[in-house]
């Protein structure tokens, strides 16, 4: 615990220090980076020690804020969610320091490091807070700090727009959370989390209402459909390491909130599982479809966050299904898979965002159609990006497969053993996962293939250069973790055991039983994958021996007899995705702009598509237009005269006074 407090102190002090020394870019950078890295390192040690010992550490003291108390606690669940926070804070700080060393950022370094450190500290407080007031304060600081980080390049109009959308949606979510905590607090009599924990019986029939409120409030942060609209706006606007931090860990605080809520609410039902799986399935499939339609790498990755949050929801849904039907193996596999995917997604998504940053840095564009052939020019970035792409598709032997396999296994256990009504959610989960898996492969072969393979499609791409070491090795660390978690898969249940026990009150014996089963399975899988690697190595050696001493020629790609192909004739990202998108044209609209070439010797013709977010355009935009129209009626209140405003205040005060005295 002391380490966590120390980490918070270091981050805050370093942040403020960095802001005070903003006149000197060197000093502010060193302070900000050093504070974040050392704080993260200390915190990491603290979190790991709690994970290892399994004994929660807490600190409770009173606070003068009404209903507030300064209660913090580090238990297994918090420690687990802190792992990616510290990991990514440290790596993003190292990466960011180098990324921001371009002169155009010099004047903004101070505020950047202030908000960066504040964001890290507030995420830590959100996860360890044990009082609703403290939690909401930290939640709000987190939202504001990330807002200022997103709008770092605030002179660009697109960034402003993204910032506003983010600010509005995060506050709407927070408003729902206020309501959630007030309702919960009024039932249990206090706003301390400890009292929520024991309030299970008091809540009774309102549990479902609370569950839905939590889904909306926390879901907005997590980015589930239909409240995901801020994600694809905010991530491309922010600098890459901020996107990595936000997509990797900040949206996971939403998941943390939902898991915490599940601990408080007793007796989940099959309908809850169906809700979670329904949301997860829709988010997953819609997320990956919209990702497939994007031409901007960072928007594409942002939509993949929506998809992966969907996968996490599928896992949680299977876990809830296990609780509702009293089937321990489902609980263990579902929650285990879902939570492990939280960690995994943090790792590979951060890896991919850092890769996107390197692409932007090296090739000065994130538009897929202007890239190509970057693997030859940026071998490190490209290879690491490939690792991230394979991992996010959930392919073996990397970490994504481990968590997805656990969710699959849990859902198949449900199909095997539950009655028809309870099996339906799990069937939906399997089908959604399968569809997501297939589409994700399409999407990431597109992203990797178009950007890094083939020939450069623009001048910038052909002049691209590899990034500095400080922007490469954070990627290497993350890629190594992807591989490591994949290879050490049998150990993951051991790590998850205390967390699962905390989320689902199960007999330890039952859990151990299921755990042992999973561990054996995972061990076999790792064995099979080693065999596969061995086979690949064997084939490589065989090909090498076969080819020694034979003719090996370098030539042009088969061009079907056409002698003058250019790089622009390659398949583009849009054409690669077109067959799939055409099939779902009813859901994902692709407005086209098409100028037809005219005459026998046409001079110009053009074709372009864009992909507006279907939910934003069809649901939110009309809704906000209606709200605007209604609110316009109240415009007469706003006269601009300060006297009148003071009158309003006075009236309000008097009304309140009378109301209270009545």
């Amino acid at each position: 615990m002391i380490l966590i407090l120390l980490c918070l102190a270091i981050c805050t002090v370093a942040g403020i220090g960095a802001w005070l020394t903003r006149r000197s870019p060197k000093l502010t950078s060193a302070l900000g980076q050093g504070g974040a890295v050392s704080g993260a390192a200390l915190g990491m040690v603290g979190a790991i020690s709690v994970m290892a010992s399994g004994i929660p550490e807490g600190l409770r003291c009173s606070w003068s804020v009404p209903f507030g108390s300064c209660s913090i606690e580090l238990d297994a669940l918090s420690a687990f969610f802190l792992l990616p926070v510290f990991l990514l804070t440290g790596l993003a700080a190292v990466y960011g320091a180098r990324y921001l060393s371009q002169p155009k950022y010099a004047s903004r370094l101070g505020s950047h490091w202030l908000f960066f450190n504040l964001l890290s500290a507030s995420m830590v407080v959100v996860i360890v807070a044990r009082n609703a007031i403290l939690f909401l304060m930290a939640w709000e600081i987190m939202a504001l700090a990330s807002f200022f980080l997103v709008t770092l390049e605030h002179e660009r109009e697109s960034v402003q727009r993204a910032g506003w959308i983010y600010l509005i949606s995060t506050h709407l979510g927070t408003a729902v959370l206020f309501f959630f905590f007030i309702l919960l607090g009024s039932k249990s009599g206090s706003l301390d989390f400890d009292s929520f924990q024991s309030a299970g019986e008091v809540i009774g029939p309102q549990a479902t209402l609370l569950f839905i409120l939590a889904l909306i409030g926390f879901g907005t942060k997590a980015g589930i459909v239909p409240v995901h609209v801020w994600l694809p706006e905010a991530h491309p606007a922010a600098p890459s390491h901020i996107s990595a931090l936000m997509s990797g860990v900040m949206i996971k605080t939403g998941i943390y909130g939902i898991v915490r809520t599940l601990i408080w609410l007793d007796n989940p039902s099959v309908e809850w599982a169906l809700t979670l799986i329904g949301i997860g399935g829709v988010s997953g499939v819609l997320g990956v479809l919209l990702a497939l339609a994007q031409h901007d790498l960072k928007r594409l990755l942002a939509y993949h966050s929506v998809e992966n949050i969907g996968i996490i929801f599928l896992g949680l849904g299977v876990g809830v299904l296990g609780q509702a039907t009293g089937t321990p193996i489902l609980t263990v596999l579902g929650y285990g898979g879902g939570l492990l995917h939280v960690l995994n997604h943090s790792i590979f998504k951060a890896l991919l965002f850092l890769g996107a940053g390197n692409v932007l840095h090296g090739a000065h564009t994130l538009n897929l159609e202007n890239t190509g052939g970057l693997l030859k020019r940026m071998p490190w970035t490209g290879t690491m990006f490939l690792v991230g792409a394979v991992a996010i598709c959930g392919l073996p032997p990397l970490n994504g497969f481990v968590s997805e396999f656990m969710i699959y296994a849990g859902a198949f256990h449900a199909v095997q053993s539950l009655d028809a009504f309870a099996a339906i959610p799990s069937i939906l989960a399997i089908l959604a996962l399968a569809l997501i898996g297939g589409l994700a492969v399409a999407c990431f072969t597109k992203a990797f293939g178009i950007i890094f393979l083939g020939q450069p499609r623009s001048q910038h791409a052909s002049e691209a250069h590899e990034s500095a070491a400080a922007m490469r090795w954070p990627m290497v660390v993350l890629a190594a973790l992807c591989v490591l978690i994949g290879i050490l898969a049998p150990l993951s249940p051991v790590m998850l055991r205390p967390v699962i026990l905390q989320v689902a009150p199960l007999a330890a014996l039952l859990v151990s039983d299921s755990m042992a089963q999973i561990q054996t399975t995972l061990a076999v899988i790792v064995g099979v994958m080693l065999l596969c690697a061995l086979l690949a190595a064997l084939l490589l050696w065989r090909r090498r021996t076969k080819l020694t001493g034979r003719a090996r020629a370098d030539a042009v790609t088969w061009d079907c007899g056409y002698a003058a192909p250019t790089a622009r004739m390659q398949y583009t990202a849009a054409s690669f995705a077109q067959p799939i998108l055409r099939l779902v044209a009813g859901i994902v609209r692709l407005p086209k702009r098409f100028t037809q070439p005219k005459g026998y010797f046409p001079s110009a013709g053009s074709f372009s598509t864009e992909t507006p977010d279907v939910v934003e355009r069809e649901a939110w935009a009309p809704a906000f237009r209606i709200v605007e129209r209604v609110l316009m009626r109240f415009r007469w209140i706003q006269t601009g005269s300060i006297h009148l405003y003071i009158l309003y205040m006075a009236i309000t005060l008097i009304v309140l006074l009378i109301w209270k005295l009545w």
């Binding site: 028809a420 009504f421 009813g586």
Partner: protein, 211 residues
């Protein structure tokens, strides 16, 4: 064995949703009629065998032969060989069909008055077929498609009747058959006349008749 028939009926539903060729659609509906005729024969006949056999033969004759012949003629006369531009595409229609299938099984499992003696499957399939017919009527443009949709819908109602054959007097059954026959007859005449006076049978163009 009856299960197999029901499965085949579901499949005809999907085939019907997924195809745009009129001739094919007519044949599918005819096949559906024949399958329907077989259902009561394969079930538990008991002492109703005479009644049920008569019903089966009648429905085979009307739905499997008379109506298809009549419809094919109407198709050739009105030159509506293909559903060109439906409101909902054929692939999307099948996806809707999958959802309808799920929904009807769910409803069938929830209906309170079905005891275990009646086959739950029959209720689910009948609901599904009714929904398919309904959806086709809504989503297709050509009048002939709508007649086919109507027939499919009626087939669904018939399955429901067969599932509860014990409770339904056969006069009602006969009445339903007759009803269909007359309805299709009337619709056929209407189609023929529409196509004669307007050169096409797109029903969504009928609104141009209003002042």
């Amino acid at each position: 064995m009856q299960d197999l028939l029901f499965v085949l009926l579901i499949l005809t539903g999907f085939v019907f949703l997924g195809s745009g060729r009129m001739q094919f659609g007519i044949r599918t509906v005819a096949l559906q009629g024949i399958l329907l005729g077989l259902i009561p024969l394969l079930g538990n006949l008991q002492d109703l065998w005479a009644r049920l056999t008569a019903l089966a033969v009648l429905s085979l004759a009307i739905k499997g032969m008379v109506l298809p012949y009549f419809l094919t003629r109407a198709m050739h006369k009105s030159k509506a060989l293909h559903e060109d531009n439906p409101f909902v595409g054929f692939t999307a229609s099948m996806v809707v069909g999958i959802i309808c299938l799920g929904g009807s099984f769910w409803i069938a499992s929830r209906l309170p008055f079905i005891d275990s003696s009646q086959p739950k499957m029959a209720v689910a399939v009948s609901l599904f077929i009714v929904l398919v017919g309904f959806f086709v009527i809504i989503s297709r443009r050509k009048a002939l498609s709508q007649v086919l949709g109507y027939l499919v819908m009626e087939n669904g109602v018939y399955i429901f009747g067969v599932a509860f054959a014990v409770d339904v007097p056969w006069l009602v059954e006969l009445g339903v058959l007759l009803d269909v026959f007359v309805a299709v007859f009337v619709m056929g005449i209407v189609i023929f006349h529409i196509s004669k006076s307007f050169d096409h049978i797109d029903t969504d163009q009928l609104s141009s008749l209003t002042g």
